[in-house]
């Protein structure tokens, strides 16, 4: 009798919204038809505000980028603030910045795909688009910064009349090869998983859009052979593009590290740059996702708090890794005690432009470390937007510290010099930011921004299983 004393109180789990697995996109499936309609609507709906932005950005590109650049080509590089001894300035800083941003797409889409991180599914395309357009913006800079851009083709290896080839011992030629490889392969990597979605758009449109998607979808029907082929190609790409991604930013870092410049000649520069690139890239993905989520129709279904949460954790890890590499680079230079290099470190921290150095540390380390450990902050999209924008400000400051601030104070004190950017440079930099945004805006209304088939595939693999009284998430391996 004593044993069955009282009936147990029913254990009702607290209605924690966050604990509900249905909060995750993968456990909140909708019929494919509905998802298709949502994506199509998001793609075809344009507001007046959208067109105002498009026109505004197009004007900025026209005036600030093409206008200022054209003027600089006709007048001379002197319009930029660079001078002896700082021969590289904002152009190279922004070049490194864009190439860094471009690492996000590959990271999110290839590395997370290889490791089967399911939260990647709805935003792989948004990240890949970012890669392609950041590369398009960044690849302009090697041209912009050339003293004689009209002979840029001398850098391309082709059999010319004099049989003179480029110097394959120069890191700039490696840069050219690496960026070409990365731009082509990331564009293809964007396109391949897009084909089934283009076929979906083809079936749902008329007029010029139909003609366009019909052409781009390559007659996709979805046969077994087509899927098999696509999967094989995506797998090859996902594995092969990862080392390419690593090589690209390593080679960008070698532009600096192979030189004899004090403060550049460091063996840690390769991984240090890669970590910085991934940090800034993933941060930019978060910023972009926030904008997409808050401006495009139905995007709040696909892009959820869980994604900000997951990316926030990644960002915290990368911020720590960045700090580790930064410290590595700093400590060894400081300890090594070479006079010139040590003076540069002192100058970074106490010189007239020390605020740039502190801005870098605050934005890349202090802010992420203070905020991103917190789940509530990670799940607040606008807070993540601000934090990630600041991380990118910090990464820009990092490149600014490394390039002009280091070049200005080399081994011969007589030749020290300070660099200040001039309006032409600043205008061109703003112009490429506008170009990136403009391309992104246009693309967001031209291609389905969510890989619907990948989302559906993921939702099919995820089910809620009842184990005892709890519904637990379970994943099936479909491939």
């Amino acid at each position: 009798m004593a044993v069955e004393a009282k009936p147990l109180e029913t254990a009702v789990p607290l209605p924690h919204a966050e604990e509900d697995p249905r909060e995750h996109l993968m456990f909140d499936p909708r019929p494919r038809e509905v998802m298709n309609r949502m994506v199509m609507e998001a793609m075809t709906t344009t507001s007046r505000r959208y067109w105002a932005w498009v026109i505004g950005l197009a004007l900025v590109v026209l005036v600030c980028l093409l206008g200022a650049w054209g003027n600089m080509i006709l007048t001379g590089m002197g319009l930029a603030g660079i001078r002896r001894p700082v021969f590289w300035g904002l152009f190279i800083v922004t070049f490194v910045f864009w190439i860094g941003i471009s690492h996000a797409g590959t990271f999110v889409s290839a590395i997370l795909r290889v490791f089967k991180a399911e939260f990647r599914r709805p935003f792989t395309r948004a990240a890949e688009l970012m890669t392609t357009f950041a590369l398009a913006a960044g690849a302009l800079y090697p041209l912009i910064h050339l003293g004689r851009v009209w002979v840029f083709y001398w850098l391309i290896p082709y059999p010319n009349a004099r049989w003179l080839w480029p110097n394959f011992r120069s890191p700039l030629v490696w840069d050219f090869l690496a960026i070409t490889t990365y731009l082509l392969s990331s564009t293809i990597y964007l396109y391949l998983p897009l084909v089934p979605d283009l076929a979906m758009a083809r079936d749902r449109t008329t007029g010029w859009r139909h003609a366009l998607y019909r052409l781009l979808a390559l007659g996709w029907r979805g046969t077994e052979a087509e899927w098999h082929r696509l999967r094989r190609a995506i797998t090859i790409f996902a594995f092969a593009i990862i080392p390419v991604m690593f090589s690209v930013h390593t080679i960008v870092s070698w532009d600096f590290a192979v030189g004899v410049v004090a403060g550049w000649h460091s063996t840690i520069f390769g991984p240090y740059f890669i970590i910085g690139a991934i940090l800034s890239g993933v941060a930019a993905v978060v910023s972009i996702l926030f904008v997409l989520r808050s401006t495009m129709l139905h995007m709040d279904y696909f892009i959820r708090k869980e994604h900000f949460d997951a990316l926030g954790k990644l960002l915290l890890v990368f911020s720590m890794a960045w700090a580790y590499f930064f410290f590595n680079d700093y400590l060894l230079t400081w300890y090594g005690g070479e006079e010139a290099a040590r003076r540069i470190l002192t100058l970074h921290a106490t010189g007239p432009a020390a605020w740039v150095w502190y801005l870098m540390l605050i934005c890349n380390v202090v802010i992420p470390w203070l905020t991103l450990w917190n789940r509530t902050i990670r799940r607040t999209p606008w807070a993540m937007f601000i934090i990630t924008l600041l991380i990118n400000v910090g990464m820009y400051a990092e490149r600014y510290t490394i390039i002009p601030l280091t070049l200005g104070h080399q081994r011969m004190p007589f030749d020290w010099g300070v660099y200040t950017p001039r309006p032409t440079e600043i205008s061109i930099v703003i112009g490429t930011f506008a170009l990136f945004l403009l391309l992104y805006l246009l693309a967001s209304r031209l291609i389905p921004l969510v890989p619907v088939w990948e989302v559906q595939e993921g939702q099919m693999a995820h089910t809620l299983r009842k184990v005892g009284k709890a519904e637990v998430p379970s994943v099936t391996e479909l491939e």
């Binding site: 494919r32 038809e33 298709n36 290896p157 004099r162 049989w163 003179l164 080839w165 110097n167 394959f168 011992r169 030629v173 490696w174 090869l177 690496a178 070409t180 490889t181 082509l184 392969s185 293809i188 396109y191 391949l192 089934p196 076929a199 979906m200 083809r202 079936d203 749902r204 019909r214 052409l215 979808a217 390559l218 007659g219 996709w220 029907r221 979805g222 046969t223 077994e224 052979a225 899927w227 098999h228 082929r229 696509l230 999967r231 094989r232 190609a233 090859i236 790409f237 092969a240 593009i241 080392p243 390419v244 090589s247 080679i251 088939w453 559906q456 595939e457 099919m460 479909l478 491939e479």
Partner: protein, 178 residues
């Protein structure tokens, strides 16, 4: 076989079990695997559908491209300095460390581009099996295209409908690509 008309059985996205069952039934009714092709809005592996494995040459095309890229890189980094030798600093004309960078990039470029070319060529080259398409496929439906001799048509249709399929008779081949 060419005279046979192509029919399409559409299953809802949740009815993958029925679709797989339908393929098995078709086979029992004497429709060979060559006369069946499955089209779907998301990838289903052959194991799920109980179909013979498909094959593709993309891997081999990619590998061939990588070899081409490798050879081009060898020529550029070791050949061109001989065509027009120019001394820079104290470096040899054909330094191995710097060549590794060039070789890596161009090999990868060759691999990736030719993989894409492989996809493209295989996509536009003629395929076997019954052809046809229905816009519902991109809505997630699973479609089974089959061509059957006229005498068994009745029984096939009855079987498929029992499994919940929506049958589209006489699917016309649509030109989906210019």
């Amino acid at each position: 076989m060419g005279a046979n008309v192509v029919h399409l059985a559409l299953f809802k996205e949740t009815e993958i079990d029925h679709a797989a069952e339908a393929i098995a039934r078709l086979r029992e009714l004497g429709v060979s695997d060559h006369d069946i092709s499955v089209i779907s809005g998301i990838p289903y592996s052959e194991r799920i559908l109980g179909r013979p494995m498909t094959w593709t040459t993309i891997g081999r095309i990619g590998l061939a491209g990588a070899v081409v890229g490798f050879l081009v890189a060898i020529f550029l980094s070791f050949g061109t300095p001989l065509l027009y030798p120019i001394r820079v600093a104290a470096m040899p004309f054909q330094p191995i460390p710097t060549s590794i960078v060039v070789i890596f990039e161009l090999t990868m470029l060759g691999l990736l581009i030719s993989t894409f070319i492989g996809v493209f060529v295989e996509t536009i080259s003629p395929s076997f099996g019954p052809r046809g398409y229905h816009p519902k496929i991109s809505d997630g439906h699973i479609g089974i295209l089959f061509s059957s001799p006229a005498q068994v048509e009745e029984s096939i249709h009855a079987t498929l409908q029992a499994l919940g399929a929506e049958i589209v008779h006489n699917v016309e081949e649509e030109r989906l690509w210019p």
